[in-house]
């Protein structure tokens, strides 16, 4: 039972990442009708916001300690981050918490990238076929990843979990179990909570604000909203920026769990499209539900008992379930009639 609970928790934290990426992807498809194959690249760019922030915050001063020698006879170099020199202990905390602090850099950066992407390229393809949209956004994804590769190289950049959050939380105690029967890493719990917070925030924004109401109206009937004198294009541009921010912050917080490299976007792209299709094209709740569902299934399929019965099932379970769901429910779990069916 505890094994299943632990695996369920693991599935939820994986599912959180899938849901966040799929949510942004669905947001763009639902509002603009664009199948954005560059969405995975936005997740990757978010990761590199964290990498860039850490690079900047750990720029060091090098001093030489003549009293200590290396085995090859030169004086030992003492390296201290500049922020630590400037701000003392507070600087050290900033370095330690560089990942969550880098959200401050990631949000405006990703918003700007999203808006620039939509205004500069995507808007010219609104009235084109989905095949052309896929080609151009896939091309854009390749360009973005090659730009990142040119600046950062091809190797992954591990990002540290803050020291205080490197241990595991004793969740079993909360459930009345013996101490240390069911533990789970703090950062993964934080990532799950963060995913839920962002998902909740996006839904609240769309549901409870005037801006969100207009966007939802535009998603239902773009022309009518336009005829009412509302500049729906401008709002959709902001929605594209919002989708980029969602993908970006998902990437930032994921960096301690998976060291990012330039190819990370492509690794997540196929998976996130499977999530969107299983959830139902254009359905925001569908994307979230499918994200968590597939995350949990993938995690449970990795259990020793299941792997010993069907070796390799953990690698294919997501695609297997996607096939079954689409055979039974061709529009996905929560898909609407008429979307991508013409």
């Amino acid at each position: 039972m505890t094994a299943m609970l632990a695996q369920l928790l693991n599935g939820l934290d994986k599912g959180g990442a899938y849901a966040l990426i799929a949510l942004g992807l669905t947001l763009v498809f639902g509002t603009l009708g664009v199948v954005n194959f560059a969405h995975g690249a936005l997740f990757m760019l978010g990761c590199f916001c964290a990498v860039t922030f850490r690079y900047l915050i750990t720029i060091e001063t090098v001093t030489v300690d003549p009293t200590k020698l290396t085995p090859w006879g030169s004086p030992v170099e003492v390296r201290t981050p500049l922020v630590q020199n400037w701000f003392g202990d507070f600087g050290a905390v900033m370095v330690d918490y560089s990942v969550p602090i880098s959200l401050i850099l990631a949000v405006p950066t990703m918003l700007a990238i999203g808006i620039a992407m939509e205004r500069g390229l995507i808007k010219h393809f609104y009235k084109r076929t989905h095949a052309e949209q896929i080609l151009v956004t896939f091309g854009l994804a390749i360009v973005l990843q090659e730009v990142v590769k040119a600046f950062f190289g091809a190797n992954p950049y591990p990002q540290p979990i803050p020291t205080d959050l490197r241990s595991a939380a004793d969740i079993g105690i909360l459930l009345g179990l013996e101490p240390r029967t069911l533990t789970y890493p703090w950062w993964r719990i934080i990532y799950l909570a963060f995913s839920l917070f962002v998902i909740g925030g996006v839904f609240a924004f769309l549901q409870f604000t005037t801006f969100g109401m207009v966007v939802r109206a535009g998603m239902a009937d773009r022309e009518t909203v336009g005829l009412m004198g509302i500049d729906i294009d401008r709002r959709f541009t902001i929605v594209f920026g919002l989708a980029a921010v969602v993908a970006g912050v998902a990437g930032v917080m994921y960096t301690p769990l998976l060291p990012p490299n330039y190819h990370l976007g492509m690794d997540f792209l196929v998976l996130s499209f499977v999530v969107v299709v299983v959830g139902g094209m254009g359905s925001l709740p569908g994307a979230v539900v499918a994200g968590f569902l597939l995350g949990i299934l993938q995690s449970i399929a990795s259990m020793t008992e299941i792997k010993s019965l069907i070796p390799g099932i953990d690698q294919v379970i997501i695609y297997l379930v996607a096939v079954i769901i689409l055979l039974v429910l061709p529009r996905g779990l929560m898909g609407r009639r008429g979307v991508m069916e013409s």
């Binding site: 693991n10 290396t70 090859w72 890493p185 703090w186 769990l257 020793t304």
Partner: protein
């Protein structure tokens, strides 16, 4: 009747003619070698070594270190720098004037931590760049692929960091040579230490990289630990380069195991070990024992990358810069002066392999591969940092001592990450080569 008459002058003339006649076949044979092997430096016009290592991908850091070792070896071979291990290597043949009196050049390649890319890179070096020897790798897949190709093309391959049993086991080749130790030797070396530290009644859970090195490492560790009386609870395979291993680590705590053996290397281990620690495994009690984690094969780069998670973890190593023998100290000094950091075992392996090939050519007096191979087979040497070492003729595996290390609890610097806790002598680390299948194959080279 003619009277036989020979004076001193006639005798000298006839002896001279006879010697010339007798040496004629050798003269032509020796000349014939010039055109009968791949990338003969006399034909190519240069002596070029090919350094084919992962510069990107899961094992890039190890690969780049290895490349640094190779470059330093070229410097020392060509008489630049302080000479490094040329000063301690015995028997002493290399003089620091290149190889057979000619300077050595090199080309580099990126295997991308990928078997196909490694093979393609090696082929390109042989066909386009004209290398006389290919060396380097950080996975057993890369090693096996390259040495198989080199056997086909008649070019000697000096493997880099390959630990799987296959390289000098079932996939051994006449043209392939390994200085690095292997998974079987890790099992031999680590078992007594594990018994001493953790006892005889343990239940082990393996997490294994799903490729030939991982399988090999897992099999050797299972054999070694089960011989101690340990029980293997489960062995789970993980894709190479996965990054997030949480889905495979989550079941460990509930499996009834009290030991986790991580058969990962490079970035995989740098990710999986800290993740295992974050899951609270080391703080657990299981079967009334403290839960422990073992990483059978360690490197300093991995230990640095894994940070605090490595403290107290036991594993094995091929070489460590903190060894106090003359060879280790000479290499650490040369490398430190060159690059400003102490060398890793990957750098050491690369450096030593380049020197061993050059030395064999020097002793053979030719680049003709069969002669160089014969010079390496059964070669006894010392002064390279691993104590007296034998390049065993039967499988081309170096027989030398194996180090058992533990993650340093109180490091004095960011490089002081591993403490030596045991040294298995060469005699104990030596095993019967016939336990692994495979044939070395012929000496005679094919044309490339």
């Amino acid at each position: 009747m003619t009277k036989f008459h020979m004076n001193r002058r006639t005798l000298i003339k006839k002896a001279g003619l006879g010697a010339a006649a007798l040496s004629t076949p050798y003269f032509f044979t020796k000349g014939a070698w010039a055109d009968s092997f791949c990338n003969n430096p006399d034909t190519v016009g240069k002596i070029i070594f090919g350094f084919n290592v992962p510069q990107t991908g899961s094992y890039a850091e190890e690969g780049l270190e290895q490349l640094s070792g190779y470059k330093l070896a070229i410097k020392h071979l060509n008489g630049e720098g302080d000479g490094g291990l040329l000063n301690t290597f015995s028997p002493k043949t290399l003089k620091g004037n290149g190889v057979l009196g000619r300077k050595v050049e090199y080309v580099t390649g990126d295997t991308q931590t990928n078997t196909d890319a490694a093979r393609d890179g090696a082929r390109r070096m042989i066909e386009r760049d004209g290398v006389i020897m290919v060396t380097g790798c950080v996975t057993t897949g890369e090693a096996v692929a390259q040495q198989s190709l080199c056997q086909e093309m008649g070019v000697i391959y000096m493997s880099g960091l390959t630990h799987g049993n296959e390289t000098t086991g079932k996939d051994k080749r006449r043209y392939g040579f390994r200085h690095y130790f292997n998974a079987h030797q890790t099992g031999i070396a680590i078992a007594p230490i594990l018994e001493r530290e953790y006892g005889k009644e343990r239940r082990a859970y393996h997490i294994t990289a799903d490729y030939n090195w991982g399988w090999s490492q897992e099999a050797s560790m299972k054999a070694a630990t089960e011989a101690l009386g340990w029980e293997t609870v489960a062995a789970i395979r993980t894709p190479l380069g996965l990054g997030d291993f949480s889905q495979y680590l989550t079941p460990v705590a509930h499996s009834g195991a009290d030991i986790l053996i991580i058969n990962h290397y490079g970035h995989d281990m740098v990710n999986s070990l800290p993740q295992a620690v974050q899951f609270g495994l080391r703080e657990r009690m299981a079967n009334d024992k403290q839960f422990e984690i073992i990483v059978p094969m360690f490197s300093e780069l991995m230990a640095v990358g894994a940070g605090d998670a490595v403290k107290g973890i036991i594993g094995t190593q091929n070489w460590n810069w903190q060894l106090d023998d003359a060879g280790s100290q000479a290499f650490t000094k040369s490398y430190g002066e060159e690059y400003g950091v102490p060398p890793s075992q990957s750098a050491h392996t690369g450096y030593v392999q380049a020197l061993l090939y050059a030395d064999a050519v020097e002793r053979a007096g030719t680049f003709y591969p069969p002669e160089v191979i014969k010079a390496l087979e059964g070669f006894e040497f010392d002064g390279m940092g691993n104590g007296p070492t034998l390049y065993r003729a039967e499988d081309h595996q170096c027989m030398k001592e194996v180090l058992v290390v533990r993650g340093n609890e109180n490091p004095s610097s960011r490089f002081d990450v591993l403490n030596l806790i045991g040294k298995t002598p060469r005699e104990e680390a030596t095993y019967d080569p016939s336990i692994f299948e495979g044939e070395l194959g012929p000496y005679e080279p094919n044309q490339c």
